[in-house]
């Protein structure tokens, strides 16, 4: 009897220990509830079903990625950071710069085996800084062209022969603007990310590889800046704000709206029955297409926890959310492109979805072909200089000489960042 009691007690203790060891709770932060709420809840539910013993607790979401970054910084000051967070692809560097992020390389392990799970070098580069992995991309978007086919037809063009070079695009947009009656041809935001995309289309980069010199006033940069000038002068581009441009496109008075592929669902809803929104991949201008890249917007997962047991559980979650199952959930519920190559290679995941969504297929194909990092300028003035670049582009649209202006802006940025 005594032995039995002891055995029971030992067994009980062991079971308790096992339960304690297995029960890990992870707090997960995310932003943009209108885009992410459904995905996050579904992802947490499915992950917990597949991994009993790990519990996912979702923090109340922040409104935007910018708010999310602020919230995380506040939590860092109060020592209340979550274990994992979904952050904007251009914002995780802010957290890295303050030494808040866990390095992922020990968890990644063998690079070749990791790549075989669908993490191509292009996709991994979205979360790397100076050769170290700090984040895994969880959703992606690049610059695409939303086209109103009816205006193209009215202007004498056709969607079958839609221009694949900038000269053709500007000529077509000019013809649409010439239709008159408040109709205009093309609009793109004078904004750092859009500019980086055009720069990448010409094969240029905003900075050199080790981020010690500004290079966006290279010939590629001048060409990209000249595009803004030509859009305004030759294609009659109006000076809209983003909301105004989307309203104009939805109302059917703007022919070509150039912006992030993540707007896809909104643009189709906005146009309603008036016309059938058609997505065209962005134009590749460089002869040597190996140099072309499109900076990728979207989100990445980062890890804050420094506790080894929690890190193991958190890594499981990251692999699940960025693996084929997670990527499928993201794509089907959000409009973002997947960030796992397996999910695109293996038709069993998203074959049906793409068969029904030709626009999404085109937008997402561009991501896997040309995805590249969205350069975030380093240092305290990093975010501020992106607004200087935007302001320079506005002046170019207003008639400033693109080559001179972009050189002036580059010098300003060099001064602010104390770079070459």
């Amino acid at each position: 009897m005594k032995k039995l009691l002891i055995a029971a007690a030992v067994a009980g203790l062991a079971a308790l220990n096992a339960a304690q060891a297995a029960e890990v709770t992870l707090r997960v932060h995310y932003a943009h509830p209108n885009l992410w709420k459904n995905v996050q809840e579904l992802m947490a539910k499915n992950f917990m079903a597949a991994n009993p013993g790990i519990k996912i607790e979702l923090d109340a979401p922040a409104k935007t990625y910018a708010d999310g970054a602020q919230q995380l910084l506040r939590e860092a000051v109060a020592n209340k950071l979550p274990d994992l967070a979904y952050v904007g692809l251009n914002r995780w560097r802010i957290l890295e710069a303050r030494g808040l992020l866990a390095e992922l390389d020990p968890l990644v392990g063998d690079a070749a085996a990791f790549e075989a799970k669908g993490y191509t070098p292009a996709l991994r580069s979205l979360g790397q800084y100076k050769g170290k992995q700090y984040a895994l991309a969880a959703s992606a978007s690049t610059l695409v062209m939303y086209v109103n086919p009816e205006l193209v037809k009215k202007a004498g063009g056709s969607m079958d022969s839609f221009p694949r070079d900038f000269d053709g695009l500007i000529a077509l947009a000019g013809k649409i603007s010439a239709l008159g009656g408040g109709i205009d041809g093309v609009w793109v935001d004078p904004h750092d990310w859009r500019f980086q995309s055009m720069l990448g289309s010409y094969g240029g980069r905003p900075m050199n590889d080790d981020e010690t010199a500004i290079t966006f006033d290279s010939p590629a940069g001048v060409a990209a800046a000249t595009l803004y000038s030509r859009f305004a002068k030759e294609a009659g581009m109006k000076k809209y704000g983003g909301n105004e441009a989307r309203q104009a496109f939805a109302a059917g008075t703007l022919g070509i709206y150039i912006d992030s592929s993540s707007y896809l669902t909104r643009m189709i809803e906005g146009a309603g029955d008036r016309f059938k929104v058609t997505v065209e991949p962005f134009i590749v201008a460089a002869q040597d297409t190996s140099k072309v890249y499109f900076p990728t917007g979207g989100s990445a997962i980062v890890m804050f926890t420094k506790d080894k047991a929690k890190q193991a559980a958190a890594w499981k979650y990251m692999m699940y959310a960025t693996g084929p199952d997670g990527a499928k959930m993201v794509v089907e519920n959000s409009g973002y492109a997947p960030t796992n190559a397996l999910v695109l290679q293996d038709k069993s995941y998203l074959g049906d979805f793409y068969a029904k969504n030709e626009n999404a297929r085109r937008a997402h194909a561009q991501v896997s072909a040309h995805a590249g990092p969205w350069y975030a300028y380093p240092g305290a003035e990093g975010v501020a200089v992106t607004d200087l670049i935007g302001a320079g582009l506005v002046e170019i649209i207003d008639g400033a000489d693109p080559a001179a202006k972009i050189k002036e802006v580059a010098d300003d940025v060099r001064g602010k960042l104390k770079m070459k």
Partner: protein, 300 residues
């Protein structure tokens, strides 16, 4: 045990009455303001674990950097346009509504409500309405201009125009509030003063206004001046919802720059310096007005 002496009891009551509000003010306003003041002499980045003392660098940057200077001049220009225009227009509106009230109370109430609407409505929602009205080719404003044969404007994206567009919205937003204040002032003017003025020969409208109404509105005008000045110095919501300070910083204002530097660029130290400058501006302006105008206010 004897009861506390009456004086002590009185003192305790005083403390009990004034204490809670004082503590709340100290904790929620004065201490944070002091911390912001200290931060303005550092290069503290939001969320960073360390900082360095940089002396007056943040202040020097604000007044020498192109962007910083623009925020200062934009704000001064905005105040210079909004403050006088809003006060004159709201006085005119108040005189009108006051006169209407003599023969139709109902119509006066309708007018009062209409003028007060912008004050009661959520400005962010109203800003969205303005954005639609001012849309370069879909907006009502440009369509009406086109019907009249005039060229439409890019109200919110023309660098030379955007600040004035925001100023007009600012005037629209403050007229109602100021008008209500002036109406209260007008209602307090005793009728017999007008009779006395009439006896002295001031019978025409302008004479009545200049000899009776305007001097007696002195205290109201002073109050309206101070309130409008601080309100227009604080302009933020319209900038944040309509232009984001753009295009190319053309509508950047002090409070928006404060927000942008602190919460978008995470430069808490620099943002603190802007806050201090803003505080100083508003304080000086209010003091000058109080000193200058109080001397000329007859009715005290």
């Amino acid at each position: 045990m004897s009861a506390p002496r009456p004086r002590l009891r009185e003192a305790l009551t005083d403390l009990w009455l004034a204490g809670p509000a004082t503590v709340a003010m100290l904790v929620l306003i004065f201490i944070p303001a002091l911390i912001v003041g200290v931060l303005s002499f550092t290069d503290y980045l939001f969320g960073a674990s360390t900082f360095h003392w940089v002396g007056l660098d943040n202040y020097i940057e604000l007044f020498t950097d192109r962007t910083g200077r623009r925020a200062v001049t934009n704000t001064l220009l905005y105040v210079a346009v909004v403050m006088p225009t809003s006060i004159v227009l709201s006085l005119v509106a108040a005189l009108g509504v006051h006169a209407v009230a003599r023969w139709s109370r109902g119509l006066a109430n309708v007018l009062r409500t209409a003028y007060f609407m912008p004050v009661a409505a959520t400005l962010v929602a109203m800003a969205t309405v303005w954005q639609m009205l001012l849309h370069p080719n879909l907006g009502l404003v440009n369509q009406v201009l086109a019907l009249a044969g005039m060229a439409g404007q890019e109200w919110l994206s023309d660098r030379g125009l955007v600040l004035y567009t925001l100023a007009v919205i600012g005037i629209w937003e403050t007229i109602g509030y100021n008008m209500i204040l002036f109406l209260a002032g007008l209602a307090a003017i005793p009728e017999h003063l007008y009779d006395a003025a009439a006896v002295d020969g001031a019978e025409r409208g302008w004479e009545r206004f200049w000899t009776v109404t305007w001097p007696l509105l002195g205290p109201t005008t002073l109050f309206v001046l101070v309130v409008t000045a601080t309100r227009s110095f604080r302009v933020f919501e319209t900038v944040a919802t309509l232009t984001n300070g753009g295009p190319a910083f053309a509508s950047d204002t002090l409070v928006f720059a404060m927000y942008r530097e602190g919460f978008v660029y995470f430069k808490a130290g620099y943002s603190g310096a802007i806050t201090m400058v803003f505080f100083f501006f508003v304080l000086t302006l209010t003091l000058i007005q109080l000193r200058l105008v109080e001397k000329r206010v007859h009715y005290r």
